[in-house]
């Protein structure tokens, strides 16, 4: 995956904080934030996951003019994209090969707060992969590590994501304990 810029914008931080139900003014009110220890608006702890918005290759966003595997009036019958390790943005790709791609783990290390005006560059490298047998059959795990660096090349956030691909669809709650 080619590197791409992830411009951090105050409006995006506001919308993201709302979506995770967090009314903290540190994410929305510049005047309030100016008087705090961090000195300005910062992003919530899981915000860098929204780098997916700027990833030109992100598979879980409908593309203008391209077929989309989600339903219209009825299911399309299209096969979802295979889960990719497009780190910082994987929640699994759907049902490649008849299984379901799900997000099993996510870990962040924070080197400094993310702020509006930052232009981060996420760089993703594949990590380990392993298998085990779970309640719904063979589970294939894969890890990716994404470094988010600022315009000066300084590390801002390190993200480690673990995805799991099940070998067949989960009919009910069988995917419990295997991610989401």
């Amino acid at each position: 995956m080619a590197d791409y810029p992830f411009p951090v914008e105050a409006g995006h931080i506001l919308l993201f904080a709302r979506s995770v139900g967090d009314p903290n003014p540190i994410y929305a009110d510049a005047a309030y934030a100016a008087g705090t220890e961090v000195g300005g608006i910062i992003a919530p702890p899981t915000f860098v996951q929204a780098s997916a918005q700027f990833n030109p290759d992100y598979p879980l966003r409908p593309r203008i003019g391209a077929p989309w595997f989600g339903s219209g009036r009825e299911p399309t019958g299209l096969v979802p994209p295979a889960p990719s390790s497009s780190g910082g943005s994987s929640s699994g790709g759907g049902r490649g090969g008849g299984g379901v791609g799900l997000h099993a783990e996510q870990h962040f290390e924070y080197h400094r707060p993310v702020r509006p005006g930052d232009v981060l560059t996420p760089t993703t490298a594949p990590g380990k992969s392993w298998e085990r047998t779970g309640r719904s059959g063979l589970l294939q795990f894969s890890e990716s590590v994404t470094e988010y660096r600022d315009a000066n090349g300084e590390l801002v956030v390190t993200a480690r994501s673990v995805g799991v691909l099940t070998t067949r669809p989960a009919p009910q709650d069988d995917a419990k304990g295997e991610g989401q």
Binding site: E37, T46, R61, S71, R95, E105, Y110, P113, P169, G179
Partner: protein, 140 residues
């Protein structure tokens, strides 16, 4: 305000309801903000008829984002050094989630005291949906 090491001890817990009766609309809101439009989370026809789930369900990262609020409200803004989650069960529309952080260790570092927390989030049935760890820089 940030948390000070002198105000907590190992074994202390901090808990809060982080979402009450999760709506499908909030899941869609998270999809829009995060950019993760996987129809497993946003498209009931796809989630049920194609993928075979009982309904759409929340992104793991939504559960993690909801849980993170408990931590930042407690330790203070910009104080987290790390946050990790394992997604243990799916979170469904209508779920009410309660997150709890427990003080595991408090250690001195070159940059002041650092707390290590264990974190878990449970649904209204008491089933754990997320387990994790966090570290944060404290005031003395």
């Amino acid at each position: 305000m940030s948390l000070s090491a002198s105000s907590i001890k190992v074994g202390d817990t901090h808990s809060a309801v982080v979402v009450d009766n999760l709506s499908r609309t909030q899941i869609v809101q998270y999809a829009g903000a995060s950019g993760d439009y996987n129809p497993l989370h946003t498209d009931e026809i796809y989630a049920t008829k194609v993928a075979g789930f009982p309904s759409v369900f929340a992104h793991g990262m939504l559960t993690m984002g909801l849980t993170a609020r408990l931590l930042t409200d407690w330790v203070g803004d910009g104080r987290l050094l790390s946050l990790g989650s394992r997604f243990e069960r799916q979170v469904w529309p209508g779920d009410t989630l309660t997150a709890t952080a427990t003080v595991e260790t408090i250690e001195e570092s070159g940059d002041g005291p650092v707390v290590q927390l264990s974190v878990q989030t449970v649904n209204q049935a008491g089933d754990r949906v997320l387990s994790g760890t966090a570290t944060a820089r404290l005031d003395p």
